[in-house]
């Protein structure tokens, strides 16, 4: 027995039982795991390309400034400095909208550049012609002149701004003739929409064609019930209280919306009340009928009530019938587009188009200020959102869109600082920046893995990883302990 035992070799002398070999086997397992980790990480992580966040934050600091050069005729030379200080004062007080760098100089029209506003002495009235203003020279005070200039250069008030539709390169104008109940009698069967648009709407759309393109559509509906009962008044007429106006549009029953594109729609509704509810008027807050029969829904469109005199059974609205509703529509359209009105007492020269350069410039500055602000906001939201949601993928398209928006914004800044100051080009760039930034924000690829639950990953990984990694960890710890014990023993032996 003993002989047999003595003949056994000590297992630790077998080559595969060397401590070194065993340890290198365990180590190689761990090495493979560590080498595979990057691969695993790469194949399972979400593609998140870096967004140029520092640039986006830097953009927030910048603000659009518009240089405004005003040249006063030498005739006004003596009041130029006081006009400048008054004007700065007025603009600073309002603190609305874009920042303006105002410089008032004295000079002849001839030696001023194209984009300079020129004030010339004139006759009895204040007349605008291009970028020139003729103003009667007698008894003009610096404060009065400053007031006039500021109301022309920045004519917006905060109240107005809520009504103006957000900027879009293309609008759809949807005109709808609504019969509340055609079968009750006195049906309006059609309208001279082409003539009315030609007369009242086209002048506006062509005047602002450098800002927007328009698609026009119209329809007639014969049954458009209201969602509420109008108030019956004592004199047998009917009225809409201010509360009624807020729920006037019955979107469930009226098919007004256009489905075929993403362009914003401005609705213009000509509402013909049912014969049993005529005349229908708008009531003031105190319950008395208002003189106006039109109202505006901010950023949505306008509504005009059309109370026809009792006439034949079927009526076709001619150009004459449409004159008053469409002048209301054209007024509503210019409000919705943010076209500034001329202050009272200022006339335009007859050879001018509908809008003077003063108005167009103010509108351009306002729209540009708006688009640049919206672009900055959208970019900031995109960057913040991506930072907040770590599971959100960011692919190349989204990254390119953000970068495109930044490039377009930079182009805006460049043209602002550069010699060539062209408002229309700048608006084009800022509109492009806005389109890019919104496309990045609404990029569908960013939603892809947003809701992929982490539990699923664990459910897939744990059965394999737990059962494979536990022996590995256990072996590593055991080996580590054994190695330490060995060293301690060796130390003791040495010592």
């Amino acid at each position: 027995m003993n002989v047999a035992t003595d003949n056994l070799r000590d297992p630790s002398t077998l080559f595969f039982q060397y401590d070194k070999i065993r340890r290198s086997i365990i180590a190689s397992y761990w090495l493979i795991i560590f080498l595979a980790l990057p691969l695993w990480w790469n194949t399972t992580s979400i593609e998140r390309l870096p967004l140029p966040s520092p640039n986006v934050y830097a953009q927030q600091e910048r603000e659009l400034r518009f240089p405004i050069k005003i040249a006063l005729d030498p005739a006004f030379g003596n009041i130029a400095p006081s006009v400048e200080s008054e004007l700065r004062n007025v603009v600073w007080q309002t603190r609305q909208g874009p920042a303006l760098d105002i410089s008032v100089g004295v000079g002849n029209e001839a030696d001023s550049s194209d984009d300079t506003y020129v004030v010339l002495p004139g006759e009895t009235d204040i007349v605008l012609d291009g970028r020139r203003m003729k103003i009667p020279k007698d008894h003009i005070e610096p404060s009065k002149l400053a007031q006039i200039l500021s109301s022309l250069i920045f004519p917006y008030s905060p109240k107005q701004e809520h009504r103006v539709a957000q900027y879009s390169p293309r609008f759809r104008l949807a005109f709808t003739l609504l019969n509340e109940d055609a079968s009750a009698g006195q049906t309006v069967v059609g309208w001279d929409i082409l003539g009315a648009i030609d007369r009242h709407i086209s002048p506006i759309t062509s005047a602002v064609s450098i800002l927007h393109n328009f698609t026009i559509e119209s329809q007639v509906q014969f049954h458009a019930p209201l969602a509420f009962e109008p108030t019956a008044l004592e004199d047998g007429t009917f009225g809409l209280t201010p509360e009624d106006l807020t729920i006037f549009v019955n979107s469930a029953e009226w098919t007004l919306s256009s489905s075929s594109s993403n362009d914003p729609v401005l609705h213009f509704v000509l509402f013909v009340p049912s014969i049993s509810r005529r005349p229908l008027s708008i009531l003031n807050n105190d319950g008395t009928p208002s003189t106006s029969n039109a109202f505006l829904i901010p950023q949505w469109g306008g509504i005009v009530l059309c109370n026809l005199p009792s006439a034949s059974d079927e009526k076709w609205l001619s150009n004459m019938d449409l004159a008053s509703p469409f002048s209301a529509f054209s007024h509503q359209l210019s409000t919705l587009l943010g076209i500034p009105k001329l202050p009272p007492g200022i006339k335009t020269s007859p050879q001018n188009s509908l809008l003077t350069s003063w108005q167009i410039d103010a509108l351009l500055r306002h729209r540009m200020h708006e688009t640049v602000r919206r672009t900055k906001d959208t970019l900031l939201s995109t960057v913040n959102l991506v930072q907040q949601i770590p599971n959100m993928p960011v692919d190349e398209k989204a990254q390119n869109d953000v970068q495109g928006a930044l490039v377009a914004l930079d182009a805006v800044w460049d043209s602002e600082g550069g010699k060539k100051f062209n408002l229309t080009d700048m608006l084009g760039n800022s509109a492009r920046a806005l389109t890019f930034s919104q496309r990045a924000f609404f990029h569908p690829g960013m939603l892809a893995l947003l809701y992929f639950p982490a539990e699923h990953k664990y459910a897939v990984y744990t059965p394999l990883f737990a059962s494979a990694v536990i022996p590995l960890v256990a072996a590593a710890i055991r080996e580590l302990l054994a190695w330490r014990r060995q060293r301690r023993d060796a130390n003791r032996r040495d010592g």
């Binding site: 065993r22 055609a182 059609g190 329809q219 256009s258 459910a459 494979a468 022996p471």
Partner: protein
């Protein structure tokens, strides 16, 4: 100084000239009510809007900026926008529920009665975007417009069967641009109130006046068979939009004995107000052969049909009509009645296994002479045909000569359906059996729909009766059934091999256990430390 009064005169005349409805658009509505042999009553509502002098959009103009204004009075604007955006020449959409029984009901007023959703469109090439891109856009836009799952009519269901679905109107000639058809059907799509509501909004009078006020969803969707259809086509007069609603109701269900009906009993409504803009508004009732009484008195009776004109209705009276029979209803003996259709079709899928089967058709020709029918299958790749196994038998003898003009577009698994088209000749007074072996596809795990155990609905086959030279008196004998009217078979349900959907997790757990076991053993073997234990020191 002469022109001034003249001008005033013209201005004064102009409104009165235009007093009538807009000269460019015309709206007509019609209701056809017909009683069937089995006591059921079919009502077909047709609403037709004609946009005169209009023509479909040339697809080449899609490349240009779209600034052209669109002005409509009666024509639905939402539909006009859609047709314009995708430059569609002709469009047909039907959504039906139920099985149309050709044997006892004959041919329907509107041909599209296939179960589920069917959409086909003719459109020309030449646009910057391809036909298939526009077809996809059209599908999605219509899906949004009608709240129906038409988006699922994707390339896995789209075919181009130009022979069975010829254009109903004209195709404009744009310097020889080729027109193509895209067709897709989805048998498991059901029609319901959410589809009817947008449908009614396309009508100028909605459901508030005129014949459309009879469209009461509670009764419509309670009917034995019901369906809505939208058809857009181009005719020399202009672009026509036809909306129709068909329903087959059973007046015997509540009473049990008499097949009397009235608007109240069928629709639970009556026409209170006429649609003010309809040019014509007619109701046509097919009168029975038996003793009957009809109230109110029709304005005209022509060849067994009573006509009513709702435009003549006085404004305050509501229009309700009633048809009463003299005697109780007796169910007709099948053997005694003459068939209403020249041929009948049965289509079945045989075979108990989940990988193979046999598609069988039984066609009965009721005519004394031979007829030719075109047969179309637009089969999703779920079922694949073996063309060499086609067998045609007439009363037990094999007759392979009866099939001709076979055209077959192969299916592409996971992407394209098969299109099988052929012409079958049915000898007079005979029963033809057609069989073909099929194999059923094995789907990927993610391709199964929810409730996969229910099976897959296969679209109906379409038969078209073709003109044949031999029969002169044919159309006369068939009571005005024209050649070219389509016959849809009922849809089929195919049972495919369905996995146990908890399987992936079971597989993951099982494989992981095995891998972990093998890994553990080998790892243990490699790193085990052997020591000699001496039992007796």
């Amino acid at each position: 100084m002469h022109w001034r009064p003249l001008c005033l005169l013209v201005l004064g005349l102009f409104p009165s000239f235009a007093q009538t409805t807009s000269p460019h658009e015309q709206f007509d509505e019609e209701l056809v009510v017909k009683s069937f042999q089995d006591g059921r009553v079919a009502s077909t509502f047709t609403f037709k809007t004609l946009l005169t002098d209009a023509s479909p959009r040339d697809p080449r103009t899609l490349a240009l900026e779209d600034d052209e204004p669109q002005h409509y009075t009666l024509f639905p604007l939402t539909l006009g926008q859609l047709l314009r955006q995708y430059a569609i020449t002709e469009l047909h959409l039907t959504l039906n529920a139920g099985k149309w029984k050709y044997d006892s009901w004959g041919y329907p007023e509107a041909a599209g009665v296939g179960t589920g959703a069917e959409l086909y469109a003719w459109l020309a090439d030449g646009a910057p975007s391809s036909i298939d891109e526009r077809w996809q856009g059209l599908r999605n836009a219509l899906a949004g417009l009608f709240c129906a799952s038409l988006g699922s009519l994707d390339e896995q269901r789209t075919t181009s069967p130009h022979l069975s679905f010829p254009p109903e109107g004209l195709l404009p000639d744009w310097d020889g641009l080729q027109h193509e058809i895209r067709h897709a059907s989805h048998a498991s799509e059901h029609v319901c109130t959410e589809n009817l509501t947008p449908f009614l909004k396309l009508l100028p009078c909605k459901s508030l006046s005129g014949l459309a006020s009879l469209l009461n969803p509670h009764r419509m969707f309670d009917a034995d068979w019901h369906g809505i259809g939208l058809h857009v086509l181009w005719r020399p007069e202009g672009v026509e939009v036809r909306l129709n609603f068909q329903m087959v109701s059973d007046p015997l269900r509540p009473s049990g004995k008499k097949q009397d009906w009235s608007f109240r009993s069928l629709y639970d409504r009556s026409v209170d107000r006429a649609c003010p803009v309809a040019k014509t508004s007619r109701t046509i009732v097919t009168l029975p052969d038996a003793v009957y009484s009809i109230t109110p008195e029709p304005s005209a009776i022509e060849s067994g049909k009573a006509l009513y004109d709702l435009k003549n209705k006085s404004p305050n009276e509501s229009f309700d009509m009633k048809l009463e029979w003299g005697s109780d209803f007796v169910y007709p003996q099948a053997s005694l009645t003459s068939p209403l259709v020249p041929f009948t079709v049965q289509r079945k899928l045989h075979g108990p296994t989940q990988d193979r089967g046999q598609l069988a058709l039984v066609l009965k020709n009721h005519e004394p002479h031979a007829i030719r029918v075109s047969y179309l299958e637009t089969m999703p790749w779920l079922l694949q045909f073996y063309l060499h196994t086609i067998r045609i038998e007439v009363d037990g003898t094999r007759r392979d000569d009866l099939i001709s003009n076979i055209s077959y577009v192969l299916p592409v698994p996971h992407s394209r359906p098969a299109t099988f088209h052929c012409i079958l000749t049915l000898p007079g007074h005979s029963t033809v059996t057609y069989t073909i072996d099929v194999t059923k596809a094995f789907l990927m795990y993610t391709e199964h729909p929810p409730d996969a155990q229910r099976g897959w609905d296969l679209p109906p086959a379409v038969f078209v009766l073709l003109a044949s030279s031999s029969e002169e008196g044919y159309t006369r004998s068939m009571g005005g059934v024209q050649e070219g009217s389509r016959v849809y078979t009922p849809s089929l349900l195919v049972d495919l091999a369905t996995p146990d959907f908890s399987m992936p997790y079971n597989v993951i757990i099982f494989t992981c256990s095995v891998v972990a076991f093998i890994f553990g053993s080998i790892f243990n073997l490699l790193t085990r430390k052997f020591v000699v234990v001496r039992l007796d020191g």
